[in-house]
Assembly symmetry: none
Homo-oligomer: 418 residues x 2
Amino acid sequence: MNIEIINIGDELLIGQVINTNAAWMAEQLNLSGFRAYQFTVISDSRDHILHALAEAAERAEVVLISGGIGPTKDDITKHTLCEYFNTHLVFNEEAYRDVEAMFARRGWPVTELNRQQAELPENCTGIPNKVGTARGMWFEEQRSDGGLTIFVSMPGVPFEMKAMMTDYVIPRLKQTFRTPFIFHKTTLTQGVGESFLAAKIEGWENSLPANIKLAYLPQPGIVRLRLTGEGLDEDALHCQVETEIVTLQKLIPEYIFGYDDESLEMIVGRMLLEKHATLATAESCTGGTIAQMITAVPGCSAYFKGSVVAYANEIKEHILGVSAENLEQHGAVSREVVTEMVTSLQSKFNVDYAIATSGIAGPDGGTPEKPVGTIWIAIATPDEVIAEKFFFGDSRERNIRRSALQALNMLRRKLKNQ
Amino acid sequence: MNIEIINIGDELLIGQVINTNAAWMAEQLNLSGFRAYQFTVISDSRDHILHALAEAAERAEVVLISGGIGPTKDDITKHTLCEYFNTHLVFNEEAYRDVEAMFARRGWPVTELNRQQAELPENCTGIPNKVGTARGMWFEEQRSDGGLTIFVSMPGVPFEMKAMMTDYVIPRLKQTFRTPFIFHKTTLTQGVGESFLAAKIEGWENSLPANIKLAYLPQPGIVRLRLTGEGLDEDALHCQVETEIVTLQKLIPEYIFGYDDESLEMIVGRMLLEKHATLATAESCTGGTIAQMITAVPGCSAYFKGSVVAYANEIKEHILGVSAENLEQHGAVSREVVTEMVTSLQSKFNVDYAIATSGIAGPDGGTPEKPVGTIWIAIATPDEVIAEKFFFGDSRERNIRRSALQALNMLRRKLKNQ
């Protein structure tokens, strides 16, 4: 069964926006046992859309379209779909009520443009949009060979498209087409690069059974290892994949922090919650990134008290109480200062656990003794204080990200052992 | 003149690698007055490649191909191009000497696989590869209408493709085709949704000249408005687009914060630098996000002193000095508390400007009087303190992001007027 993904948008074709939608859609399809055959990116133009739809229908049974269904003039996908299916727009009462209700909650007036968004082609099923105003559209067309071709039109805004794919499109595709069982499990590692990891687990990787495939999915600071198994018996397949993961866990226990969609900040949060313990951060080079990650998790107020972002040395001294002598003698990027930061914060914020960071994120500020990428991280627990030095790379963005992840993983290990 | 970009690679179609090549190629083409008409992503399969080449030749005068010309077995693009052009491979002495020289520099032996990389289809011109072993290929095919269709095959490895595009492909395309000038300028707005913005600028949009097109590019909290002009006189075109932007600026001055690739945090940083002024943030609901955004900008230590993330009320009280009475009487999400946060921070951190946020990001914590999405933002300048209440939506992630952007834009307006 072939699936074609069509992404509509002039902003994609001039390279202003990178087409992340197609990759995300393809990955999600894969996780459900489907496979994308082709991606096609076209412009917001009637002729081009009509042409692409006709071509896609020749080679695919399912055509997933994103883009061009917003409220503005350049959004012409809906009208062009009407033309392609030789139908017309009909006002959809339910779609309108959804928009009205969303706007009422926010205290906004409904404009004529929003009203027009509640008009849908007569022959489609509207797909609810929980996070935006444009409904998706599900069309089914009878082919001359008797089969069905399915066309689905979704918004181009990534979070609206993602919600629709997850809540509606993929479940309905799974109902419509029978696929073999596919089971994915992703093991999350932190603190080891892709090539070192590959060398460590080479023997295990080579001995994987033929129906289980391994993919390396690297991100800055994190390498995800995804196992994908395919089989006819669901329970046996799960068991087979889990057994391989137990073996992997024994090979690299220090680097594995979680599985699938967990994040380090979620895992650390859950561990703190279980211990009824509290946390605060004192951040210099990470500039609030650790606090930002922790507070992205709903319910974090149960364990996170707050943070001092001590970017300037005077803030380290006057707000955190780091001694002028240590700053003068050892510099801000030192074991002494990061240790004082973490202990002072722990007592001022009256928390059980604390994290502190101080480093040279770059691009400027490096010296021969402390080059860009030098980062000190300290962790305070109820029983001890540890500090460790790392050398990351040249990129400011990656240095900040890797420091934050490394700090959270150090805290996770302490929480696990206490 | 239509250009189609074909990217070949199974890793793209399973979503493991995001197709950044197409966006980069399109952007470079645009900067030289060319326009990509379509992107097509296909698999490393003979049939699929042959089919895509034939389709592209029907709608494009130039077909730029990347991927599938490495030394391994799954790299079948070169053989398939031979088949498409009904030709055969010929050993290319010059290409072989290039590979030999590169390997000699690195002290590597030349393998049989590398030797095969010096074989090129007889009817193409080889394109030198300064950073890798696979030559690019430039084909010209006479069409039945007398015109030429150009096919260019390049490696999929981004830095090899980029070097070839810059050094060879774009210069030769510019020699071959005369192109009109294209000029893009993107106006960045914050604090107004896409549909409200569309209603406000409808008259202006409708009166745009035919050679200038408008596109709405929404992101959470930000809507970008891109004008694209096309013309034969470069200076006149720039002037024409800039004139339209002056008119737009007069219509919605409060929402426009910058142009093209600027970010709010970069603009605010530059304004602070010009004033030799300093900034700090006191963040509750934004949890360090504003500090994180500001410190992502290199050189921010010249104006940013730091932040207190006062997530728990006891931190607001004991570290920032917010009065227990105000917290008790008005609650943390109130004009009184956010104002005390900002003034106290301004004096404790000894800064010229300060930002404070306090709100209910969700999903929990809402009440009938203060539903999820209620956010107070305060700005302190050397002369005054302002506080404003906003109602955003239901999503925690978006509430945090929109609050941070709104706060930065409020600060920008104050910096502009002082």
